[in-house]
Point group: C2
Chain length 219, copies 2
């Protein structure tokens, strides 16, 4: 077989072709890039593909972005920034109780990963294709989100609101935080509106599991 660079990637998420209302070209490019990257993956989606999907030709991309790499960073960074903001907001608005904070955090995080599956998928799966400097920026934001969670767990454990699992007498709140995040993040890989749970129900379920996992005292 002769090379086919456009080899089909089994779509992890199928997206409706998106009838585009007339929007500024930059937005159209962003939107097309999101769906294409989500469906087939950054390295096999060509600049020509993206631009054809907006009814333009290859060259026009470079009037809006310096490179394909910058385009990827742009769309990931905006999603990631918004997520970080939402998480901070959720915790800030949940009062002083660590259990309430954890529940609010997980709820917001899961709802977003259900609702914006395409964006979440790209932000999480394609991050590795970014060039060095650009990837650092995104990782910082991810670490920040993880640290919010670690903070909640730490306070909860100190105050006796949580009784997190320990092994051989030692606890590792960072590992627990990673476990919870992995769980919530990857909802975007398989959740579909066809399932038996709505987005809000998923959020409740996951918040419940998280509270159980950290041993939140039931009031």
């Amino acid at each position: 077989m002769t090379p086919k660079r456009n080899a089909q990637r089994a779509p992890a998420v199928t997206v409706a072709p998106e009838r585009d209302p007339p929007r500024p070209p930059v937005e159209a490019i962003r939107a097309a890039a999101f769906t294409q990257f989500a469906e087939r993956g950054y390295p096999v989606v060509t600049v020509r593909d993206i631009m054809k999907a907006c009814g333009l030709t290859q060259g026009a991309l470079y009037n809006h972005f310096r490179s394909k790499d910058e385009l990827l960073h742009d769309i990931i960074a905006s999603t990631q920034g918004e997520l970080e903001r939402l998480c901070q907001q959720a915790v800030a608005g949940a009062g002083d109780d660590p259990a309430a904070q954890l529940a609010a955090f997980v709820r917001v995080y899961v709802v977003r990963h259900c609702r914006l599956r395409v964006e979440a998928l790209v932000a999480n799966r394609e991050i590795g294709w970014l060039s060095g400097e650009r990837v650092a920026d995104i990782r910082r934001s991810r670490r920040a989100i993880r640290d919010i969670l670690v903070g909640i767990l730490t306070r909860g454990a100190e105050r006796g609101a949580f009784d997190p699992p320990r092994v051989d007498g030692r606890g590792d709140l960072k590992a627990i935080a990673m476990a919870l995040l992995d769980q919530c993040t990857h909802v975007s890989m398989w959740y579909g509106p066809g399932g038996m749970l709505s987005e809000e129900q998923m959020a409740k379920l996951y918040a419940d599991m998280a509270l159980r996992a950290v041993g939140a005292r039931t009031k």
Copy 2:
């Protein structure tokens, strides 16, 4: 910038260059493919890269595999098959108690994903690049593993050994199983022997969290 197909992918896992003991060429190719795919991702790793890493040239690949695609399927399928076998075995050897079965399942699953990070990473992250027929095969095995877990949860809930979380009066054991699997699978994305927990400690921690999440009655 002119195209660089070998663009660096930020390594999700860094792997020692692997001093290869003399082994049959097929094995050497498999090993090289694993590390290269894990470090940089299937689509940007070229056949030339893989073969150079074994001290051979491009053409030689085709004496052992029909295509690059078949090579990927081969290495993923063997890992996946082994994982499925281990999971069945763990559950079968854990007696009749659903809690013991769940703990054994999670323990084996986590230890494997810590120890064989490279293989797990490739099997999970690169699966989407397989062509249609080949991907189905792997997905079947994944579903089989999920169904083992759903089976444990179902029996546990029926017998009252578990009290799984419910939302609005309804439970969704499949969603819970997916949550647990996502959690355990993605250990391979961040766990490193440098952390504060050993593989066995990670396994214990995760088994504990799983038991808590499904509401296993403490004996």
